[in-house]
């Protein structure tokens, strides 16, 4: 090869090297930055005194108020959470933690997502990767991520999915890197997470304040039947949990796996979630990992948090305060060597037997022509037998414990005035001649048999097909 061609090839290689550098720079600066994740990581990196650290995904970020836990336990607590974090990110975040801290306890707050997917959301990587201090931590984090999903390029080119949407995003990211405190002060301690206003209260805690409530967050069972998505402890996730256990043991830190308290309506709609908790608890106990399941916490430890959920997973600040108080109480009792088992139901069955209310109810219109029919959660064959083409079918359902039987009553609404269409009945089926109830408002009440209190739901009808 001629000398000039060789030089040219070197020049070409140098160009691609320069481009790679530019891509790396882009991976740091040309991203949207989660302001509160940045502040959490910054606070974690600037301090060196953390003793009790909660690590998890968004359900940890919104549920755990470390100030309350610190006050109640006398320990320096911190909430190190990144939305969408799975085990890969938890390991990376813990390695980052160990750079400046020697916590005596780490509480890994887990949800089904933590273990049932081998793929950590690219959002978590985007949020955390640019701010990790160590190259080796970054490298290992990337290696774990791509080993699971094979997204080699996507996970390098983060700015493709999570890139700045406008120059201000870039400016904000750059400013948060070089002048984080000043930028945080200038931006103000307010932001929106979707439609919900949030504030950063320090120690990693992000408080959500909204009037929104998860009134209709009830359909998990149905969605999972359709998507075929099942709760599962995947082998790779189990392996990473064991790696995590060993990592903490090597640093002399005790590990507590805390299963977060899912919304009761969610538990009732999707009993497999409770089964998932059971298998995780079993796995932990078999591998020398302490595991506490707050999904089975009794009301005397943890009041019903359902009224504080603003979506199916996350709670507003008041809910976080209640939960944190419960966790602090548990930790104090545990530290005192008290038996905490009486604070939790001993089994799913016990929990379900104790749950003697209907959480929520709803109505669907049955459409025999529809491919995806919400009414299938009723007895499909029975419903089909009722459909004759001349009759409209409205189906009520509710979330309730399988140890109790619900009953329903339908009303036709005229403004706020109720006209009864049925008496209390065990099946939630309302039949009427085709079109008779089109463009009307139906209300259904649901309660457990033998009880007087009921929950209601209004349904605005329209022609189905």
């Amino acid at each position: 090869m001629k000398k000039s061609a060789f030089r040219g090839l070197l020049r070409l290689a140098a160009f691609f090297l320069a481009f790679a550098v530019f891509v790396c720079v882009g991976g740091v600066f040309f991203l949207r930055t989660d302001l509160f994740a940045r502040m959490m990581l910054l606070e974690m990196q600037e301090r060196d005194d953390l003793d009790l650290v909660f690590i998890g995904s968004s359900v940890c970020r919104d549920h755990v108020n470390p100030r309350i836990i610190s006050e109640a336990t006398g320990r320096t607590a911190f909430n190190a959470s990144i939305p969408c974090l799975a085990m890969q990110g938890s390991i990376a975040l813990t390695e980052e933690l160990y750079r400046t801290h020697s916590p005596s306890t780490i509480v890994l707050v887990v949800e089904p997502y933590t273990f049932e997917t081998e793929r950590e959301g690219i959002e978590a990587e985007d949020t955390m990767m640019p701010w990790l201090s160590s190259f080796s931590t970054k490298r290992d984090y990337y290696r774990r991520l791509v080993a699971a999903d094979g997204w080699y390029m996507d996970r390098i080119l983060l700015f493709r999915d999570m890139g700045a949407q406008n120059p201000l995003d870039i400016l904000k990211t750059v400013a948060l890197r070089f002048f984080p405190h000043e930028t945080f002060a200038r931006l103000g301690n307010k932001a929106m997470d979707g439609k919900v206003p949030v504030t950063y209260e320090g120690q990693g805690f992000v408080r959500y304040e909204t009037e929104l409530r998860a009134d209709e967050a009830v359909r998990q069972k149905l969605q999972r039947q359709v998507t075929g998505w099942e709760y599962e402890l995947l082998p790779a996730s189990r392996q990473m949990l064991l790696e995590y256990r060993d990592l903490l043991a090597a640093h002399g830190t005790e590990l507590i796996v805390l299963i977060y308290p899912n919304m009761n309506a969610h538990n009732l709609a999707e009993p497999a979630f409770l089964g998932y908790n059971r298998s995780l608890t079993f796995f932990c106990h078999n591998n020398g990992i302490e595991c506490v399941n707050f999904a089975l916490a009794k009301p005397e430890l943890l009041p019903n948090l359902d009224p504080y959920y603003f979506d199916i997973y996350h709670v507003v600040g008041e809910g976080a305060d209640l939960f944190s108080s419960a966790v602090a109480r548990y930790l104090n009792l545990r530290a005192a060597g008290a038996d905490t088992s009486s604070l939790f139901y001993g089994s799913e069955e016990e929990y379900l037997r104790a749950f003697d209310t209907v959480t929520n109810t709803w109505i669907e219109r049955y459409d025999p022509a529809a491919e995806w029919n919400p009414a299938r959660e009723q007895d499909e064959a029975a419903v089909q037998a009722l459909a004759d083409g001349q009759t409209d079918l409205y189906l009520a359902n509710c979330n309730h414990s399988p140890y109790y039987t619900p009953e329903y009553r339908f009303f036709l609404m005229d403004g706020e005035a109720e006209s009864p269409l049925t008496g209390w009945q065990r099946d939630g089926v309302l039949r009427c001649p085709a079109g008779e109830l089109d463009h009307k408002t139906l209300r259904v009440y649901a309660r457990l048999q033998g009880q007087s209190s009921a929950v209601s739901y209004d349904f605005h009808t329209s022609p189905a097909y």
Binding site: M1, S4, A5, G8, L12, F22, V23, L157, R160
Partner: protein, 518 residues
């Protein structure tokens, strides 16, 4: 085949190509082309092999017959009378015609059967045969038949080596969507050993990046909007439909020309220059000009093998004479050309598919070109009377916009799956614009968010600027490569970064090339 895979494979092959001994480089190209073709669909391999080998054999036979005839003529020159020579020539021509037609009919027959049987059967609600359509079958069939006709007409010597001819037919970059190459332009380039030329290599890389940008940043980003509106046009007013047609214009151009840029760039990695297939068609000042800039290789094929043979045929000559006899010299000249244009565009429509919308689209173009040819004296008179106006820049812009409008009306027929739908959408565009959909948020619910619109706008402006530079005679690649190193690198890095950051990933409905199915 995934675009990323194609690019990756091309780079690796280019490396191997220059590491190989010079005399076997063309064999490496042949083997890799066949492997890539087999990877894209093993079932297509027998078809391309049959076309290549049957064409090679037929062309060789034609060459042998021609040679034998000339030898016979030479040997018997003294003994032959003029009539005998004429009779012998006619006999030879007839025998050669049989060979040529046989090969032509068989190969076009295969193309017709595979490509058109199902659409035609569906017109009669008959059961579909479900034939597989081999990748690039239209392109390699047209390319092979062009070669056959050139050999028949004595323009090209037949290739003796079947493997070399197979490489001409199957050279992998052009298999996907052309361009339809000429044997005399491409074959020698394929087989001669090229030494590594960094400048050409870099130019090839740059062209590949530009093609990738057009395809993956612009075309694939516009696709969801176009698909949604054309798929559910009843739900949208004429204004939204018009935007969809404009985006289709952009999408189709960037998809096709981007793909061509990409494969031309790939070929340049091997030191091979493919014929240009696009020359900034949306700067055309007339429909005829547009078709000389769009899919140039197909236009040239149609011109050489359909238009001229038809327009210069005996019936057309007779028709011309008959019209001239009635005292209209212009009509006598223009009528064969006008009919030839209608025929050519009818065939171009059919080439796209057997559906009626393609036929309508072809006829729409053919008829406009025919009418334009017939009205030429009127244009000439207008030019003579308003010379200053016609020469002005404003008038050129007007002509460009007028052509753009005419082309875009044609796209209604090209993109709709049924002719009636095209008329309904056109009617809505004209009479039921529904302007409120332009500002009530509808535009953001059709597959493109505001971010996508911004990317599309930036990319389109970039495309326009580069095209304008090209239109003004600047070789944009040479312009970039001629800058000082820091400036050049900055331009390239910023461009590549923009492409990497904004290209639409694969695995979506947008992965394939539109013209790969033709």
């Amino acid at each position: 085949m995934s675009l990323t895979l194609l690019i990756g494979a091309s780079l690796v092959l280019a490396l191997l190509y220059y590491l190989c001994p010079a005399r076997v480089r063309w064999l490496l190209l042949l083997v890799s082309s066949l492997c890539i073709y087999a990877y894209a669909g093993l079932a297509g391999v027998p078809f391309i092999l049959f076309t290549a080998l049957s064409t090679w054999a037929a062309a060789l036979r034609l060459g042998q017959m021609e040679k034998a005839y000339r030898q016979w003529l030479k040997d018997n020159r003294a003994a032959l009378t003029a009539e005998a020579k004429k009779a012998a020539k006619a006999r030879d021509k007839a025998r050669r015609l049989v060979v040529m037609l046989l090969c032509l009919v068989v190969n076009f027959g295969i193309l017709g059967l595979l490509k058109y049987a199902d659409p035609v059967l569906s017109l009669f609600s008959a059961r579909r045969l479900g034939f597989l359509l081999p990748l690039g079958i239209s392109f390699y069939t047209f390319q092979s038949m062009g070669y056959l006709l050139d050999v028949y007409n004595g323009k090209t010597e037949p290739e003796r080596n079947p493997l070399r001819f197979l490489l001409f037919v199957s050279f992998f970059p052009q298999l996907i969507q052309g361009p339809i190459a000429r044997f005399d332009q491409l074959s020698s380039q394929l087989t001669e050993p090229h030494s590594f030329d960094l400048d050409a290599f870099e130019r090839g890389l740059l062209l590949m990046a530009w093609g990738f940008f057009k395809k993956k940043v612009i075309a694939d980003r516009a696709l969801p909007f176009v698909s949604e509106v054309f798929g559910n046009h009843e739900a949208y007013g004429g204004a939204v439909i018009a935007i969809a047609v404009l985006l289709y214009s952009l999408q189709q151009y960037c998809d096709f020309s981007g793909g061509i840029d990409l494969v031309t760039g790939i070929a340049e990695l091997f030191g091979i220059r493919l014929a240009p297939n696009f020359r900034r068609p949306y700067f055309a000042t007339s429909l005829g000009d547009f078709w000389r800039r769009w899919h140039i290789s197909l236009g040239a094929w149609m011109r050489d093998y359909v238009f001229y043979p038809f327009a210069l045929s005996k019936p057309m000559a007779w028709l011309g004479k008959a019209v001239r006899g009635r005292g209209n010299a212009h009509l006598a000249r223009a009528l064969p050309a006008a009919l030839g244009n209608i025929l050519v565009f009818f065939l171009v429509g059919i080439w796209h598919g057997a559906q009626i919308n393609y036929v309508l689209w072809g006829l729409y173009n053919g008829i406009i070109l025919a009418v334009t040819a017939l009205l030429e004296p009127a244009y000439k008179r207008f030019g003579e009377r308003h010379g200053a106006l016609v020469a002005s820049r404003g008038f050129t812009v007007f002509r460009i916009l007028r052509t753009f409008l005419i082309v875009n009306i044609g796209w209604y027929f090209d993109r709709c799956t049924r002719g009636a739908e095209a008329f309904r959408m056109l009617g809505k565009t004209l009479f039921m614009p529904g302007f409120t959909q332009l500002h009530d948020g509808t535009l953001l619910t059709l597959g493109l968010h505001s971010y996508d619109w911004r990317i599309l706008a930036i990319a389109t402006v970039l495309l326009f600027v580069v095209s304008l530079m090209g239109e003004r005679g600047t070789d944009v690649r040479a312009f970039v490569m001629g800058r000082r190193l820091p400036v050049r690198w900055l331009i390239l890095i910023l461009f590549l970064y923009f492409v990497v950051a904004t290209f639409v990933g694969e695995g979506t409905q947008s992965s394939g090339f539109m013209y790969a199915v033709f």
